[in-house]
Amino acid sequence: MTFHNILFEKAEDSIKGETLEAPAFFVDLNLDQIIDAITADKQEYNLKPFFYTSLSNIDTIKYRHEIMQDLENQALFENIKLFAQKMRTMREYLARLDKLYYKYLKERWFLDAVEIYCDSVNNLLHDLSLADLKSRGLSAFREYLTNYTNSDRFILLQTEMKKITADLSEIKYCLLIKGNHIKVRKYESEIDYSADVEETFRKFKQGAVKDYRVKFHESPEMNHVEAKVLDLVAQLYPDTFFNLDNFCTKNENYSDKTIGIFDREIQFYLAYLEFIAVIKQTGLKFCYPQIVTASKEVYDYEGFDLALAYKFSAKKSSVVCNDFYLKDKERAFVVTGPNQGGKTTFARTFGQLHYLAGIGCPVPGRKAQLFLYDKLFTHFEKEENIKNLRGKLEDDLVRIYDILNRATPDSIIIMNEIFTSTTLADAIFLSKKIMEKITQLDLLCVWVTFVEELVSSGDKTVSMISMVVPQNPAIRTYKIQRRPADGLAYALSIAEKYRLTYNHLKERIKS
């Protein structure tokens, strides 16, 4: 099997053009926050296009799952990070060259860049060989690396680099500075004067004392005196510097393109795994979802909103997890209950889970089965107050019409509190109409609404309710439970609080 790249097994599946534009539903689902956080420390790799592109076949998702699973081996993960760090250092060295002036200075930075390159390639191959790789992607890449490091081109590059580096490191010279005159010659084993001074006064040594060493400003540049000294050192060691010169002209394009692409694309995995590692520390779980296409039975246990979990992880706390499942003919969740109870979060979680599954990533939850959708639509209430209510209603309807027109039975629709700005009668009427269309399409849907009448829209809908603590309805549990929306749960708990339930009242009312 030949290696193509680490994100796609086959050339024909690859991204045709990388997009920098996030999908439309990103903001509604807070996916923008998630992806921003994931890619924040990796700007140089421009990873967002990878996170913006959903996959259309299960095999590619599996290809990525395998790689993610291999990378969950901590040792391998760290080693690949190390490889990436080295490649970054190498790029910094190379970027520096253009800004530098003195020839031997530039040539040495180039040599050092090559050294780091060879090192990182060798180490990576070594690390991959030690790892028990299960994934097609990394195994194929390992094979590619083996062939590459055995190629004449790489071997020659490495041998020459090593020879010159060794020669340079053996150089030891002396400067004799007297007034404004400098003499440069080879070092002749003169003794270290500081050590001599230290030895003389060792007998007085008491405890720790202040460090009087002055820190000098170190820059990659060189001043003309240093450059002149270096020129004279080059005259002292002419062969070594001649070799260095030759090496640089010969190897201008030394680095391998495929390895370069791997270095960028593997960051997709590293970035995601690093991100979820932080969240796992708060006790939350992730899993590799089962992806289904034929059935629309989906479930996720102990799932959560990743964006919210990320925010909470900064405070070292974790979010409330929720379970959901749809079986048989069930297609739509209708979420009702008190405000601020986690309804929107539930809707977002559903969307996030499917999106993240669709780009081949592990998802929040202990165990999950998710649907490979073709399109994902969201319709969230917009914050802004539009004065013209009719205008807003119309606008809502136009958007929903558009969504329903483009949706297929394989799409997902997530709706959050629409029709809030119209009369209840209107809202009930319109909601029912739209639910009919959705039911006809037989697609997966989450609908957060205050219209409880929607719940009884047939066997395709499932009622979910946001819960409160019965003794004190002001406290939200953020639990969303699958139970009929009889409109009583909330009222009962308020009754509890005021001791007005049947039992309470019987006790309170004295006979």
Partner: protein, 523 residues
């Protein structure tokens, strides 16, 4: 090189933490009088005296070690004061050498270091001279070791070697630096090198293969070039400047240590001459090991009282060996508090290696000395006062350990006698069982008698003596507690022999009691 005059094998730590009850000790035992006499107006001597006296030793070896050194000091006081002056001088002179704004430059650091080192060398030579002239007059282990070290470490050859460095570090022949190439072929690992000896025979010179040498000169007008050159030079001498400056710091800390350790003995010498002036005796105490229960002395007097009234005062003889509870009762102003203070002072002085204010003194060392005194200031509110006393007692309980000594002075008297003695009794019994030696000055007959009556072997009852004519001798004698504290005597002394007045105050007290009883019946 160490002075080791406070401990056989370690430095005296001026930064060491003092016991948590430091302030109470200073206040209750009037230690500032002692420190003041030792300091004789020198702040540093005061500080050292305070640290040394309050950080008690409890190993007999070190106490002996210091006692012997102190005996040498008393014998050779002018030599010791001379050595102390050399240390003080060295420290002062170093401070005077200007550091300036150039401490960022190795060149400036180096030249200051050379100057300071020159001063130190002169002072070390002086020290060596004193040692050469007077070492044979000292007998203590501490001093003979000290002089032996000076003799060994600071010989002429060593001074020559140092002088040589001082000359070469002025770099009359230029600065020789070795370097290697690092990233970007920049020079690194700059190390100052000592040039090879030039005294090569001419034959060697002719036949030696001449290695190539290249050179260049930077024009005077090339400002940035000259700057770069001097940075290069600075990189070369960075390490040696650091070594020399650090060496100076080490020599300075040697002088600091010598000064601090001698300061203790100079303080003792000051105190010694003050006591000699008023013809008070001193003696070197005989410390017994921790836990042995020894306390016997002759002519023990309160040093602070003697110092403040500047004349000889009465000393006490007591044998309280094998006793763990010493109860002191007796006449007011009969010398109870003074006695208690003399116990505390002698304990502290013994445990820092000093002489003690007594004709002879033997006691076991303790793991901590604590005081619990009635505080005079807040007599206004009795209940608040007992609170305060108990809270201090609780602090002590947090810190006290077995084999400590605890001095109580009229503690728990802020309530009625019965309650106070019950509180005291419970506390005393607990402490005694924890092997804490207690000296308890009390007015409370009930409390004192309670212990006396039990005829316990480890309890001794002392009483401030009162002659039959009511005159106080300020002597403490071994006797059973008496019912009255002779308050009447003092009252009479102040108000004249008006017995009516005395009985009036008693009746007033009874009245108070009556009122209380009435209140009770109302409730």
């Amino acid at each position: 090189m160490k002075a080791f005059l406070m401990y056989r094998d370690r430095d005296f730590d001026l930064q060491q933490k003092l016991p948590s009850n430091e302030q109470a000790l200073i206040q209750d035992l009037e230690l500032n009088t002692l420190f003041g006499a030792m300091a004789s107006d020198d702040k540093f001597l005061f500080e050292v005296a305070e640290k040394a006296v309050l950080s008690s030793l409890n190993d007999l070896n070190t106490i002996q070690y210091r006692q012997n050194i102190l005996k040498d000091c008393i014998k050779n006081s002018s030599v010791v004061r001379n050595i102390y002056e050399i240390a003080v001088q060295a420290i002062k002179s170093e401070k005077k050498v200007y550091f300036g704004f150039f401490s960022k430059y190795p060149g400036a650091i180096l030249s200051r270091s050379i100057e300071v080192l020159q001063i130190f060398v002169d002072m070390l030579k002086k020290l060596k001279k004193v040692s050469d002239e007077h070492a044979d007059k000292f007998e203590s282990e501490g001093f003979t070791t000290f002089f032996a070290v000076l003799n060994k470490e600071l010989d002429d050859e060593y001074f020559d070697r140092v002088q040589n460095h001082l000359r070469e570090l002025k770099f009359h022949d230029g600065v020789l630096i070795s370097a290697e190439l690092e990233k970007g072929n920049k020079g690194t690992n700059y190390i100052l090198r000592k040039p090879h000896d030039k005294k090569q025979s001419w034959v060697d010179r002719i036949f030696a293969k001449k290695p190539p040498v290249y050179s260049f000169t930077i024009s005077d007008r090339d400002e940035s070039g000259n700057k770069a050159l001097s940075e290069l030079r600075d990189r070369g001498i960075n390490l040696v400047a650091n070594s020399l400056a650090q060496s100076n710091d080490h020599i300075l800390s040697f002088f600091n240590m010598l000064r601090a350790e001698l300061a203790f003995y100079v303080g003792c010498l000051n105190l010694h001459s003050r006591l000699a002036q008023i013809e008070e005796p001193i003696s070197f105490p005989l410390p017994a090991i921790l836990g042995e229960l020894r306390h016997s002395f002759k002519g023990l007097y309160d040093l602070c009282l003697a110092l403040s009234i500047r004349r000889k005062i009465v000393g006490n003889n007591v044998n309280a060996d094998d006793k763990s509870l010493v109860i002191i009762t007796g006449a007011n102003q009969g010398g109870k508090s003074t006695f208690l203070r003399s116990i505390g002072l002698a304990q502290l002085m013994m445990q820092c290696g000093m002489f003690v204010p007594a004709e002879s003194f033997c006691a076991n060392v303790c793991s901590g000395l604590f005081t619990h005194y009635k505080r005079e200031e807040d007599t206004a509110m009795n209940s608040g006062k007992l609170d305060e006393e108990l809270s201090r007692m609780s602090d002590i309980a947090d810190n006290i350990t077995s084999n400590s000594v605890l001095l109580f002075n009229e503690s728990f008297a802020a309530t009625n006698e019965r309650e106070g003695s019950e509180i005291a009794r419970q506390i005393i019994c607990a402490l005694s069982e924890k092997k804490i030696k207690i000296f308890f000055v009390t007015h409370s007959y009930e409390f004192a008698h309670g212990f006396y009556d039990k005829k316990m072997k480890n309890v001794i009852s002392l009483r401030a003596e009162r002659q039959t004519d009511g005159k106080r001798t300020f002597k403490i004698i071994e006797d059973k507690p008496l019912q009255t504290s002779y308050g009447e005597d003092i009252y009479n002394k102040i108000f004249g022999a008006d017995t009516k007045g005395a009985s009036k105050s008693v009746s007033a007290n009874c009245g108070q009691n009556k009122i209380d009883r009435e209140n009770e019946s109302v409730l």
